[in-house]
C-alpha cells in the first residue's frame, strides 16, 4: 500500500471517492475549499457528479435528492455554512437517508475566524437543527484518521440510513501528513438501496413517498421512538475512543479532534518529565464514548483536565456527564482560532497537581 504526503482536505475528498462517494454538492467557504476543488475534477473521472450549488442551502438539498436515489453523496462546509445546511440535514435525518457531511470548522460565532476551532461542539453533537434528531458524529485528530473516518462514514451511513457528520477543523483540513489512503471500495460490497431508493417503485407497484410530515402527534411518536431506539443502538454498539497511556495514569487528560492530538503530545511530554499522564480521546462525539470514562480509577483520580479550542467550553459538559460529576473539571481552553499549545497544557497540569 502506497503512502502519500497529502493535505487533510484532499485526503478526505479522495477517501470519500474511494469509499464510494459519487455525488458532491457544495459552496465555497474557507477553510474547506480544497474539498470541492478536488472533487470537481475527481468525481467525473469515476463516473460521478459534482455540482457547485448556488448556496449552502441548495447544496445540502441536492445531496438530499441524490442520496434519496441511492447514490453515495456528500457535502462539506465550514461552521457558518453548516448553519445554512442545518434544515437540509434535518430532512435527511428525518427521512432516514444516508449521506456524509464534513464540517471543516472555523471560529465562531457568525463569521468568527477562518482558523481552526472547536466552537461547533454543541452545533454538531447536540443540536444541528431543531427537532431533536442527531447525526452519527465522528471527529478525527490526524489526517490519516480523517481519511479513514470519511471512508468508513459511507458504510455507517448506509448501515443505519443516517447522515454521518465528520467534525474536523481548519487545523486537520489544512495540514499535510503522510497517509495511507484506503483502497477503492468495490460497489458489489456496498449495501443495496433497492428496498428504499426513490427512483424505484415497490415490487407490488405501490409508490415510495419520502415525507417527514406527520398529520398527528401519535404518528410522529412512532417515528420518534424509532429514532430514539436507533440512538440507543449506537450508544450500545458504536462508541469509539482512543485511550492513550491510561493503564497506569495518575493524571487524566481528555480532548477530541485537533485538541486531542495536542493533548497527546502533552501526555508524552508529561511522561518524559516523570508524570504518569494519560489521555481519553473520543472519536465518536455522538454516540459519546461514556464507556471510556468508566475505566477511570475514581479512588485515585479526583480531577480531569479537559482540553478544547472553545471559549466558553462545550465538550466539558459531556465529560462531566460521562464521569457522573465525580471529578473536578479543569478546563484548558483557548478560543476557536487559537491553537492550544502543548506547553500551556503541560504547565497547567503541573500547577494544578
Amino acid at each position: 500500500m502506497s503512502k502519500e504526503f497529502i493535505k487533510g482536505n484532499e485526503a478526505m475528498a479522495e477517501a470519500a471517492v474511494r469509499g464510494g462517494c459519487r455525488f458532491f454538492a457544495g459552496y465555497p467557504i474557507t477553510p474547506q475549499n480544497d474539498i470541492p476543488e478536488y472533487l470537481s475534477k475527481r468525481l467525473f473521472e469515476v463516473g460521478g457528479t459534482f455540482i457547485q450549488g448556488e448556496s449552502e442551502i441548495a447544496s445540502i438539498n441536492m445531496v438530499y435528492g441524490v442520496a434519496a436515489t441511492g447514490v453515495r453523496s456528500m457535502t462539506s462546509s465550514s461552521s457558518p455554512g453548516l448553519a445554512l445546511k442545518s434544515e437540509g440535514i434535518s430532512f435527511i435525518a428525518g427521512s432516514r437517508i444516508p449521506a456524509v457531511i464534513i464540517n471543516v470548522a472555523r471560529g465562531g460565532p457568525a463569521l468568527g475566524t477562518i482558523q481552526g476551532a472547536q466552537q461547533d461542539y454543541f452545533a454538531s453533537a447536540k443540536a444541528i437543527a431543531p427537532g431533536g434528531f442527531r447525526c452519527f458524529v465522528v471527529s478525527p485528530s490526524t489526517v490519516q484518521e480523517a481519511a479513514d473516518l470519511v471512508y468508513e462514514a459511507f458504510e455507517i451511513a448506509d448501515k443505519y440510513r443516517t447522515p454521518v457528520y465528520v467534525l474536523t477543523d481548519g487545523v486537520i483540513g489544512n495540514m499535510m501528513e503522510i497517509v495511507e489512503l484506503p483502497p477503492m471500495r468495490d460497489p458489489e460490497e456496498m449495501l443495496s438501496s433497492d428496498a428504499w431508493r426513490i427512483t424505484k417503485y415497490n415490487d407490488d407497484s405501490s409508490a415510495r413517498q419520502f415525507s417527514t410530515y406527520r398529520p398527528t402527534g401519535e404518528m410522529l411518536t412512532v417515528d420518534n421512538i424509532a429514532m430514539a431506539e436507533l440512538y440507543e443502538e449506537w450508544q450500545e454498539k458504536e462508541q469509539r475512543w482512543e485511550a492513550f497511556m491510561m493503564e497506569d495514569a495518575e493524571v487524566v487528560l481528555t480532548a477530541y479532534g485537533s485538541a486531542g492530538r495536542i493533548a497527546k503530545s502533552a501526555v508524552k511530554e508529561l511522561r518524559a518529565q516523570g508524570i504518569k499522564a494519560g489521555l481519553i480521546r473520543p472519536i465518536t462525539l455522538f454516540p459519546f464514548p461514556n464507556k471510556a470514562y468508566e475505566n477511570i480509577n475514581y479512588d485515585k483520580i479526583d480531577k480531569i483536565f479537559v482540553v478544547e479550542m472553545s471559549i466558553p467550553p462545550q465538550f466539558v459538559y459531556d465529560v462531566e456527564l460521562a464521569t457522573k460529576s465525580q471529578l473536578d473539571y479543569i478546563n484548558i481552553n483557548t478560543s476557536g482560532g487559537v491553537i492550544v499549545e502543548t506547553e500551556s497544557i503541560v504547565d497547567k497540569v503541573k500547577e494544578s497537581m
Binding site: N61, G65, T69, S206, Q209, Y213
Partner: protein, 246 residues
C-alpha cells in the same frame, strides 16, 4: 360496457384530495396523473413537491414522491436529474415556495437549463398558512399581511415568474396557463404533456405556470373565483406561451 371516463390510475386510491372546495391544485394533480399515464412514464417519474398546500399533494398521487424543504425543489430536482438522466423529474411548487423562499433555487435551476419540468401554481397568496401576501399577490389585493391591499410603494410589484424565466438563456419552454374552466384545463394538460415529452427527448427545461383559484383565502365562492381569474388575475398575469425554442 365501455369506460369512457375515469380517474387516472396514478392518482392515489384515497378518493379525492384534502384541498379546499374549488381549489385548483386537485385539477392540476389530475392532469399531471393523466399525462404520466398517457406517456407511460410512471416507473421513471419522481415528483419533487413543496411545502405549502401542495405539500399535502404527494400523498394524493400514486407516484414516487420526494418532499422538499421549503423552496428547495429546484435544487433537489436539479440534482436528482443530473444523476438519473433517464428519469422524469417534476418540481411542483406554489408561489410562496417557488417565488419567495425558493427564488434562488428556482432561478439557478432554470439558468442551468436542467432537463426538468417545473409546474408552478400561482394562486396569488400563501394558501396553507391562511392567506398571507405572496410575491405574486396583486396590487390592491388584500391579504392577511397586507390588510389594506398590496401597495406598490410599500411592498413592491408582483413577481411575474413566467416572464422572468423566459428571459433566461437556457429554458426551452415557458408558458402561463389556467385551470378555472375546461378550455384552459385542456391547454394546461397539453403544456404539461409537452414538458414531460421534452424531458424524454432530452430537450431541456420547461416551466409551466398555472393560475389557480384559492376560494377560501380569496373569500369568494368557486364561480366568482373563476371569474376573478378571467377579469383580474390574468390581467396582471397574461396567459400564453412566453418561450418555445423546442
Amino acid at each position: 360496457m365501455n369506460v369512457v371516463y375515469g380517474s387516472p390510475s396514478f392518482t392515489s386510491e384515497v378518493m379525492g384530495t384534502g384541498y379546499c372546495p374549488g381549489c385548483g391544485h386537485g385539477t392540476v394533480h389530475k392532469l399531471l396523473a393523466e399525462v404520466v399515464e398517457e406517456l407511460s412514464v410512471r416507473e421513471k417519474t419522481v415528483l419533487c413537491y413543496p411545502i405549502g398546500c401542495a405539500g399535502l399533494g404527494g400523498g394524493w398521487t400514486n407516484l414516487n414522491t420526494l418532499s422538499c424543504a421549503h423552496g428547495r425543489a429546484g435544487a433537489v430536482a436539479t440534482a436528482v436529474k443530473k444523476t438519473n438522466q433517464d428519469n422524469v423529474i417534476i418540481a411542483y411548487q406554489g408561489d410562496g415556495d417557488l417565488a419567495a423562499i425558493g427564488m434562488a433555487e428556482t432561478m439557478h435551476a432554470a439558468n442551468r437549463g436542467e432537463n426538468i419540468t417545473v409546474i408552478f401554481i400561482n394562486n396569488t397568496n400563501f394558501g396553507m398558512t391562511g392567506g398571507q401576501m405572496a410575491p405574486t399577490t396583486l396590487i390592491g389585493q388584500k391579504a392577511t399581511t397586507s390588510p389594506d391591499g398590496r401597495d406598490l410603494e410599500r411592498h413592491g410589484a408582483p413577481f411575474k415568474m413566467a416572464e422572468l424565466i423566459a428571459k433566461l438563456e437556457a429554458p426551452k419552454f415557458v408558458g402561463r396557463y389556467a385551470v378555472h374552466d375546461a378550455k384552459n384545463a385542456i391547454k394546461t394538460k397539453a403544456a404539461i404533456k409537452k414538458g414531460l415529452q421534452m424531458q424524454l427527448d432530452k430537450k431541456g427545461y420547461s416551466f409551466i405556470e398555472v393560475l389557480s383559484v384559492c376560494p377560501t383565502n380569496w373569500k369568494k365562492n368557486p364561480l366568482d373565483s373563476a371569474k376573478y381569474i378571467d377579469e383580474v388575475v390574468s390581467k396582471t398575469y397574461p396567459l400564453g406561451v412566453y418561450k418555445d425554442v423546442e
